[in-house]
């Protein structure tokens, strides 16, 4: 299939990009093109103007800063996966990247593109929420920063406003030990369910647990009540299972041709147990 007609611009700076994007409903930023271009080829999307961000160098930088690890929106998954700073400071991100599609897609796909696309079954939004990432949005009215928790608003829906561009993502250092678990039909497919679990162990007791579940809803689900179950407890399979049982309470779990809500719920719960045990170093 061929693309529908569109105009194409390749600005060299963020401000030029924002100028092209503002006031034009029909304009879309183009990052790695791994979601948008297939949609265009299938003629399910037909933006009038593509603003290719590929020339904007400052978007493609990983900054190993004092307070946070800052990843530019145009850094490719492959670059992220190979980054020493990412491996050191956000090992969860690196773990999750193994599940992102295939090498050919990771060579082109970008962190910012994946987050801005906000597919409910994609890995990067789950990681961003789990690690309390902060998104920097730049638009005609200036720069604002927004927490990942508030950034994802639904399937393919984010807090990015008209004319705004996601420019970089800050990952604060995490004291937690993290594990990522995912099930998909084949390696590289979108997840049927996935879980990021993080916790600290002090004197054999579990502290400060965090659980984020993806692929079950239109956005990453943070389960605070399940995390609270673990507080001060000795982590074992029984405790992890207790947490898992309530992890999706109140969530309307989605169904599709690969997994109905009931199966998906059970799958996610099993992954919660696996992820918690692995994060806690509990050998099963």
């Amino acid at each position: 299939m061929k693309f529908p007609d569109f105009s194409y611009a390749r600005p060299a700076t963020i401000s030029e990009a924002i100028k092209l994007l503002s006031g034009n409903d029909d304009a879309r930023p183009l990052a790695g093109g791994q979601s948008l271009l297939p949609m265009m080829a299938l003629r399910m999307a037909s933006p009038g103007l593509l603003v290719d961000l590929g020339l904007i160098e400052e978007l493609a930088v990983i900054a190993d800063g004092d307070a946070t690890l800052r990843i530019g929106a145009m850094v490719t998954h492959d670059t992220t996966a190979r980054s020493e700073a990412v491996a050191r400071r956000t090992p969860l991100l690196r773990q999750a990247l193994h599940h992102v599609a295939h090498q050919a897609v990771r060579n082109r796909g970008t962190l910012g593109g994946s987050l801005a696309n906000a597919d409910g079954s994609a890995e990067m939004p789950v990681v961003a929420v789990a690690l309390d990432a902060v998104m920097t949005l730049q638009g005609p009215d200036g720069v604002r920063r927004i927490r990942a928790d508030e950034f994802f608003q639904g399937h393919y829906t984010t807090a990015i406003g008209e004319g705004e561009l996601l420019t970089c993502i800050d990952f604060p250092d995490s004291a937690r030990s993290w594990a990522f678990e995912e099930v998909s039909r084949r390696p590289g497919d979108f997840a049927l369910a996935m879980v990021a679990a993080g916790l600290q162990i002090a004197n054999g007791k579990c502290l400060n647990a965090s659980l984020v579940i993806g692929g079950v809803s239109d956005r990453p689900i943070r389960s605070e009540s399940a995390a609270a179950v673990l507080d001060g407890r000795t982590l074992d399979r029984a405790v992890a299972t207790e947490a898992a049982q309530i992890a999706l309470d109140g969530v309307r779990v989605r169904s599709d041709i690969h997994a109905d809500a009931r199966f998906r719920t059970e799958l996610a719960k099993n992954l919660v147990v696996r992820a918690l045990l692995r994060a806690g170093g509990a050998n099963d």
Binding site: D5, V183, R185, F190, L192, I257, F263, L267, L271
Partner: protein, 768 residues
């Protein structure tokens, strides 16, 4: 690998026009209006046609089978009045670029009145709604291969195993989708058609009939083809459409299908329900089999296979290589509002084999017999030959028991059961499945007659010894990645005793010899048969001339090592090149009445069914937490007679097993209740990848065929006939540990989950 092979999309033509086809978004609807004016006005558009434009030029694809009671259908080239499946062609845009054609397609405005839909076998049988008004009661054909009285057998059986097996609708999904380019030269009246087809000669004849065009002025050229697997062994409406446009517009017309179009509208396959039961006595001996098989055949019959390619053909070998005295079956070929069903590797056999082997395992479990033992007690053995199956297949040869023994060794059955028990203690379900099969291979007239799909087929080949002793072979058979040019060259080189390099095989145009096609495990058999027979005819002349020159009898002449010589005395002779030179250029050397044409054309069609055989075993592991099935090990035993090229045979086995894994665990064309296809990309239609397919352990047995020169048998379909049954058998062996089973496929995580919810022995898994 050079990367230089030219597939149809690589062919460049000046002045070519591109085609884009508007396809129905509804499974069943009346077209009340089509407005193409905006599309016609779009830049770059040369022509827009609807059904009304095509109908006077061609009434549609006519598909019938000469059986009493068979209901033929005609699939319009472009729908007129009514669309009958999602993806049916409604209109076509011809433009100077593909993009312009696709842009214009979006400007066509069609008004549809939706009609009630026949979306599955149950509603087809109920026939309250009719999917295609040409087919009363939605029934294309009701078949009965055997009507034995089996009631007594079932009444006295110690064990009756039965089930209702729903096989999934799948696509052959060749990596290269379909494509066709046609060029009509009005000055010479020549129509040249490049098509990614498995049946170029058949396509040529069908184009002549459907276009009312003189056949001698049609040439079908087959470039490199990127996989066919049966899907490209049909005459597709698009091929006729492209030719009509080429004749109308006088410019080359190019249609290259995209993946979505392929999944929507290229023939689907394997969609059957089998309600099967087997009666077994207390010693584990099979008494009888009963089966009712229904095919969800889609809206039209495909040309040439029709709906009969599934359940009806499947019934012919349902009892397989087992001694089953009594068989009672019915097969229903039903129309539904879906894409037509067609041939796909293993055709109607895959689904029935899954049902049969699953039931054999169940009976074995009930009677306390190992899966090997229960099969061993029932397999046709050497002492039974000739053995006539209930459907009339005469088994004269085959290595069924040896296959089973070899599989048991390869699997190491005893240690597998130990591993299975140990794994269960850790919460993992391991399972072993197997299937023993015979394959109706090298399918010619007799085989098609046995399958109750009466079609006469033969192929021809021409073999010429050139003046310098080199060999030129022309064949109508084409390859889609199977390496046939190599195997055919081997056949010719062996026949003349010359090096492989001395042979050139010309294939890929209907200017060569005539044939039926590279389908139904025919390539090796018909290649060996036609080339072997034509070579023999040429060798008669060579022996005649050599005998004259060497002053001996023709029966004492041998061709070997590039020489023609007296048998047993290589020095008493001459190089083949010298002899050929004498035939062409030295009249004085010829014996009286010698016809010097060192060239012969010969036809071949086996005198009986060429029966190959073999077996497969699979070991799978089911993760109880994720419900994912992983195929850990695959084993194949193949007896395809004399192998021309073992590497190619093993490639066929491995490729077929990959497809079997896809069909049983991953692939499913999912339709909703309105007949809407929801799996239209390879993101949703899940093909197996390299990580889903384990290494395959292969063993060979060899029972040469006396029906085919060289003793070869066909084997291209074997893995898709039998490996699916082994894989599903393994899944059900694993599930049996907890008292569960699956009868709907693929065995996806969802279906494993559902099966586990119904499990009767969940306590078998120790609490972790």
């Amino acid at each position: 690998m050079s990367g230089r092979a030219a597939y149809i999309a690589d062919l460049a033509f000046p002045d070519v026009l591109h085609v884009s086809i508007l396809r129905s978004p509804f499974a069943h609807a009346r077209i009340t209006a089509i407005d193409v004016s905006a599309a016609r006005a779009h830049g770059g558009v040369v022509q827009v046609w609807t059904g009304a434009d095509v109908l006077p030029r061609c009434g549609g694809v006519m598909a019938r089978m000469e059986l009493p009671g068979f209901v033929p259908t005609v699939q319009p080239i472009l729908a007129h009045d009514i669309v009958r499946f999602v993806g049916e062609a409604v209109a076509v845009v011809v433009a100077t670029s593909q993009a312009a054609a696709e842009d214009a397609l979006e400007l066509i405005d069609v008004d549809y009145d939706e009609l009630p839909v026949v979306a599955d076998i149950a509603s087809a049988v109920a026939a309250e709604v009719i999917a295609n008004e040409a087919v009363p009661a939605n029934l294309v054909y009701r078949g009965h291969r055997c009507q034995d009285d089996v009631d007594n057998d079932f009444a006295r059986a110690a064990c009756v195993a039965q089930g209702r097996f729903s096989n999934n609708r799948v696509s052959a999904t060749p990596m290269e989708p379909r494509g066709c380019i046609a060029s009509h030269e009005w000055t010479s009246g020549q129509l040249t058609v490049w098509s990614a087809t498995q049946m170029p000669s058949f396509l040529k004849t069908m184009l002549a009939i459907h276009l009312a065009f003189p056949e001698q002025r049609i040439e079908v050229i087959t470039p490199q083809v990127g996989g066919g697997f049966g899907q490209k062994a049909h005459v597709h409406p698009e091929e006729i459409l492209v030719c009509l446009l080429a004749i109308e517009l006088g410019r080359p017309i190019r249609w290259i299908e995209d993946r979505r179009e392929n999944l929507l509208s290229a023939t689907h396959a394997k969609h059957q329900i089998n309600e099967m039961a087997i009666a077994v006595d207390a010693d584990g001996r099979f008494l009888a089999m009963r089966n009712r098989s229904s095919t969800d055949g889609g809206a039209y019959n495909s040309l040439p296979w029709t709906h009969l390619v599934e359940s009806h053909v499947g019934a012919s070998t349902l009892t397989g290589p087992y001694r089953i005295a009594n068989f009672n079956d019915e097969s229903l070929s039903l129309v539904t509002n879906k894409c037509p069903i067609g041939a796909y590797r293993g055709v109607g056999w895959s689904a029935g084999h899954i049902a049969r082997e699953t039931l054999i395992d169940r009976a074995g479990r009930e009677l306390g017999l190992s899966p090997f033992e229960i099969r061993r007690r029932n397999l046709v053995d050497q002492s039974d030959y000739p053995f006539t199956t209930p459907t009339g297949l005469v088994i004269r040869e085959g290595t069924f028991v040896q296959t089973l023994d070899r599989l048991e060794q390869m699997v190491d059955y005893r240690s597998f059961r130990e591993r299975q028990t140990a794994a269960l203690a850790k919460g993992k379900l391991l399972g072993l499945g197997l299937c023993v099969f015979n394959e109706v291979s090298g399918v010619g007239t007799r085989a098609l007659s046995f399958l109750h799909t009466p079609v006469t087929t033969h192929d021809t080949a021409t073999v010429r010894v050139e003046p310098t002793g080199k060999i030129t072979v022309t064949t109508p058979l084409v390859a889609a990645g199977q390496g046939h040019l190599t195997t055919f060259a081997q056949v010719a080189a062996d026949a003349f005793g010359v090096p492989l390099d001395d042979v050139t095989v010309l294939a890929g145009t209907t200017r060569n010899a005539h044939g039926f096609g590279t389908v139904a495990s025919r390539g090796a058999v018909f290649g060996a048969g036609t080339i072997g027979r034509a070579a023999e005819a040429v060798k008669v002349k060579i022996r005649q001339l050599a005998a004259h020159l060497l002053q001996t009898g023709a029966e004492r002449i041998t061709l070997s090592e590039g020489r023609v010589h007296v048998t047993g005395s290589p020095e008493q002779g001459m190089p083949l090149a010298d002899l050929a030179g004498a035939a062409y250029f030295a009249d004085a050397t010829h014996p009286p009445e010698f016809d010097p044409a060192l060239e012969a054309t010969a036809a071949f069609d086996p005198a009986d069914v060429v029966l190959a055989n073999g077996g497969h075993a699979a070991i799978v592991e089911i993760d109880l937490e994720t419900c994912l099935v992983r195929v850990d090990q695959m084993f194949a035993v193949e007896d395809c007679g004399k192998m021309i090229n073992p590497m190619i045979v093993e490639g066929q086995i491995r490729g077929g097993i990959a497809q079997a894994i896809g069909m049983t665990l991953l692939e499913e064309l999912v339709h909703d209740g309105e007949g809407q296809l929801v799996t239209t990309t390879l993101m949703d239609y899940l093909l197996p990848t390299s990580v889903d397919v384990p290494d395959v352990q292969i063993a060979h047995l060899e029972t040469p065929s006396d029906l085919v020169p060289g003793g070869v048998k066909g084997m291209g379909e074997s893995a898709m006939i039998s490996a699916p049954a082994a894989i599903i058998g393994a899944v059900n062996d694993a599930l049996a540990l907890v008292g569960a089973s699956v009868e709907s496929f693929p065995a996806s995580p969802q279906r494993i989950f559902d099966a586990l919810q119904r499990a009767s022995k969940v306590d078998a898994v120790p609490a972790l």
